[in-house]
């Protein structure tokens, strides 16, 4: 399969040019990143080599990269699904906290269940809590026209602080750390590679991406969601219920975001820890934007971000370049994607030459 076909596959219903813009944005950001490294007097080549090595250089490095990728796939998918319905879910962060907490709580409270049932039930508990947390702003928008951005942002605070309260008081484990008790072994997501943090959460993430693709492009449910996102009034005259789809898309989005917290808690920490997320929910917005709101694009972007972050740790240790550089690169990528006109004009000039 040629690269062009793959790109065409990602873009299926968008213009191929959009995909090029994403790729070009990444390239441009890396070039500027290299220039910055050069400016501070280090070797860009060395820094990037170390970074690449840190991200993919050994089995455990790859495992670390993939571990970082998992939550970003989920939050990226969450934002993408909402966006396909024309909605901006800024609330993935709150939704993933809810999901994480309630999956752990389910695992702790339903420990009497047979071993093979406990893990799925715990995951389900997390998904449902996220769907409710995401569904509320959807429902409010559908019924009263409240803006989902405002409501989801506010619900982030509520979600993060409610779980914080719960883990600091009613469900706090012995000791000085704000965390719950450790979950039963049966509820832990099995490790894919022993002695690493990489759990079966990766498989769940890939399945979720496939499921989102299938839902959006192969079913009538997804068709309705996309139709509402593309043109509400046309969808309406085709007999599509706008309100229902807005609520539904936000609930699905919330469920996906929740899985980011669920897989972290059940797969990495094996408990709920206060304030565990370094902002996966917000990075998910960037992942969705760069991934063009397409599941495959989301997976690739999440992998890129995961690799950048893991590689940066090693770069920070080995070279004089701080790992903050990666944040700069990520920021630049988003800037270029968000301002596609810049890229377009550059591409155009190159074409005309």
């Amino acid at each position: 399969m040629k690269l062009k076909d793959i790109i065409g596959g990602i873009s299926r219903s968008e213009s191929v040019k959009d995909v090029y813009i994403s790729l070009f944005s990444i390239l441009l950001a890396l070039i500027i990143g290299a220039f910055l490294i050069f400016l501070i007097g280090s070797s860009p080549l060395q820094a990037f080599t170390v970074m690449l090595d840190g991200a993919f250089g050994s089995v455990s490095n790859i495992a670390n990269t993939l571990t970082k990728t998992i939550p970003l796939i989920f939050t990226g998918l969450a934002v993408a699904v909402a966006f396909r319905c024309g909605l901006f879910n800024i609330g993935a962060e709150g939704q993933l906290y809810l999901g994480a907490f309630f999956s752990v709580l389910t695992a702790l409270k339903f420990s009497f269940l047979p071993a093979f049932l406990l893990l799925p039930v715990a995951i389900l508990g997390g998904i449902i809590s996220g769907m409710i947390w995401g569904g509320i702003p959807g429902f409010l928008k559908a019924q009263f026209g409240t803006h989902e951005v405002v409501v989801t942002v506010m619900m982030n605070y509520i979600g993060i602080n409610i779980t914080s309260y719960l883990v600091n008081y009613p469900f706090k484990a012995e000791g000085w750390v704000a965390q719950t008790d450790i979950i039963p072994t049966a509820a832990i997501l099995p490790k894919l590679i022993p002695k690493t943090q990489l759990s079966a959460g990766l498989i769940v993430a890939v399945i979720a991406a496939l499921a989102v693709y299938f839902l959006l492009w192969k079913t009538d449910i997804g068709y309705e969601i996309r139709a509402v996102g593309e043109n509400q009034t046309t969808a309406e005259s085709g007999g599509i219920n706008i309100k229902k789809n807005i609520s539904l898309a936000m609930a699905i989005s919330g469920g996906l975001a929740a899985l980011a917290g669920v897989t972290q808690s059940l797969g990495v920490y094996e408990r709920f820890i206060d304030g565990f997320s370094p902002g996966y929910g917000f990075t998910g917005i960037a992942v969705a934007v760069l991934g063009r709101n397409h599941p495959l694009g989301v997976i690739l972007t999440a992998l890129l971000f995961g690799a950048l972050e893991t590689g940066a740790l090693k770069m920070d240790r080995v070279t004089e370049v701080s790992n903050d550089l990666v944040i700069v690169i990520q920021g630049l990528v988003i800037l270029f994607v968000a301002a596609p006109e810049i890229i377009r004009s550059i591409l155009k000039r190159r074409e005309s030459q």
């Binding site: 593309e230 005259s237 007999g239």
Partner: protein, 500 residues
């Protein structure tokens, strides 16, 4: 006395249409001149040429006898031309005063006091009872229009163009507008009044220029003409009443509308019926309840009062989905916002409305093969110019987009077809195609309700015609019992005395 405006041989072409064809247009100083014509006759184009918004292919413009070359509205303003648009160009959150002086000052500081004094003076001179510190959002439509007028006057306009100024006003406000226009004339200003309403023209204008199909038909003095004559000039005679449409005995009643209130601010209601094998045309100037009728039939707008039934079943409170299940084909008047998804493929556009149903969907899974087959069939049956059904809809021309919509709606074997402005914006070839398609559907015993602002289209296709004016049906009878003039008069809100 030199003419205030003289436009000579103005020709303005758009792709596919000649909007103004060698138009000569003269306005005397200090008169109210009405520019009369149907939708699309070229009135607004001509004024946009005058105002510097369009550059004509040919022709010359003289102001006060002097040849001018106006290239932008800003230049037009400088030369003493002002325009009051149909859609107001005002900022709601700002006050009247702020709106009037917006963009006028080139200095860093704004001498509000000075502006306030002179604007108040001007408002008094023309008897505008207006509080210039009120925010626009708190004003009535009529008041907003006054602000627009004040704005042009304050900028020193000597000639003021009004684009369909009464379209948005209540009858009381129309009277007040007439007073203002007369006052403007007394003060020596020149007024151009764009309209398609005969009664208004006869009420207010000194002279009247009639445009039809981009050409000037005639300029008349009010004393020498009457609404009847003007109607004749306005609608012309190009399309014959007797088109070779086969006589056909209509079948059972398919659509029935009883006491339906179209416009919320008017108590009038309409009654309408449609039979199988019949085309009923709704004639009328747009904005008289057509959109409301269309959306109420489809369940896209809440019915205020009245009943709609389809095939003897009341559908007034049914959802759009339920109605579509009763085999309605719907060609929306607003193609972009009601009919198509521009960034979806042709295939996905064809799926709309049938996406949950067999054979295109089984157990929630979309049947790609079936859909593709069906889409390719529509593309070939309806002559859609595209390589395949995977193309994005936005890559098609307007006519081909409309064919996709028609194909989608008609291929599902409807019993009732609601076609609203089905040929708007299309080229002649596509129009012919769609007209023939509607006639074939009639032949096939379907009931068709045609809502169109294009009078020729309504006359050409319909068996019966209803004329809509301000939410009311002015007349509803067989086409052969109407004269063209009569329809024109009814469209303009004139009651016609029975000649028989």
């Amino acid at each position: 006395m030199p003419l205030a405006i003289e436009m000579k041989n103005i020709t303005k072409k758009f792709p596919g249409v000649t909007a103004n064809d060698k138009v000569n247009f003269n306005v005397e100083k200090g008169e109210i001149h009405s520019l009369l014509g149907e939708n699309g006759a070229g009135k607004t184009t001509l004024m946009n040429v005058l105002f510097g918004l369009y550059k004509p292919e040919d022709g010359e413009i003289f102001l006060e006898g002097e040849k001018v070359n106006i290239e932008s509205p800003k230049q037009a303003l400088k030369k003493g031309l002002g325009m009051v648009h149909q859609h107001f160009m005002l900022i709601n959150r700002m006050t009247v005063l702020e709106n009037i002086i917006l963009g006028m000052s080139n200095e860093l500081s704004l001498n509000k006091k000075e502006h306030r004094r002179s604007i108040n003076e001007l408002a008094e001179k023309y008897d505008f009872a207006i509080n210039i510190d009120e925010k626009i959002e708190n004003l009535s439509v009529g008041m907003k229009q006054r602000v627009e007028i004040l704005k042009t006057l304050y900028r020193g306009a000597e000639i003021i163009i009004f684009d369909e100024p009464t379209a948005v006003l209540t009858p009381g406000e129309v009277e007040e507008l007439y007073n203002i226009l007369n006052m403007l004339r007394e003060q020596g200003k020149t007024v151009i009044f764009i309209t398609h309403k005969l009664n208004e023209t006869m009420e207010i204008a000194d002279r009247i220029t009639v445009l039809r199909n981009g050409k000037k038909v005639s300029t008349e003095k009010k004393e020498n003409t009457n609404t009847n004559k003007l109607a004749q000039l306005m609608v012309g005679r190009e399309v014959d009443f007797e088109v070779d449409i086969k006589e056909k005995e209509p079948g059972n009643e398919i659509l029935k509308i009883r006491n339906l209130e179209l416009l919320a601010d008017r108590p009038e209601t309409i009654d309408l019926s449609l039979h199988q094998g019949e085309i009923v045309g709704i004639a009328g100037v747009e904005g008289n309840g057509q959109l409301e009728l269309e959306e109420m039939i489809m369940g896209l707008r809440k019915v205020i009062d009245g009943h709609i039934s389809l095939d003897n079943k009341e559908i007034t409170d049914k959802s759009t989905k339920e109605r579509k299940k009763m085999r309605i084909a719907y060609i929306p008047s607003d193609r972009h916002n009601r009919a198509v998804f521009k960034n979806f493929t042709i295939k996905e556009n064809i799926l709309l409305g049938y996406h949950y149903k067999s054979p295109f969907c089984k157990n929630h899974i979309i049947q790609e093969e079936k859909l593709k087959e069906h889409s390719e069939k529509i593309i070939s049956d309806y002559n859609v110019k595209t390589p395949n059904s995977e193309q994005l809809l936005k890559n098609l021309s307007g006519g081909n987009q409309q064919k996709v919509v028609l194909g989608r709606e008609v291929s599902q074997k409807p019993e009732f077809v609601l076609a609203a402005q089905p040929t708007r914006g299309l080229d002649i070839g596509a129009i012919e195609y769609i007209h023939n398609l509607l006639l074939d559907l009639r032949e096939d015993n379907k009931g068709i309700l045609l809502i169109s602002a294009d009078l020729n289209e309504v006359i050409k296709l319909s068996d019966r015609i209803a004329v809509l004016y301000e939410g009311k049906i002015m007349g509803f009878k067989d086409k052969k019992d109407f004269t063209r003039n009569e329809i024109g008069m009814l469209m303009a809100g004139e009651m016609v005395e029975n000649e028989a």
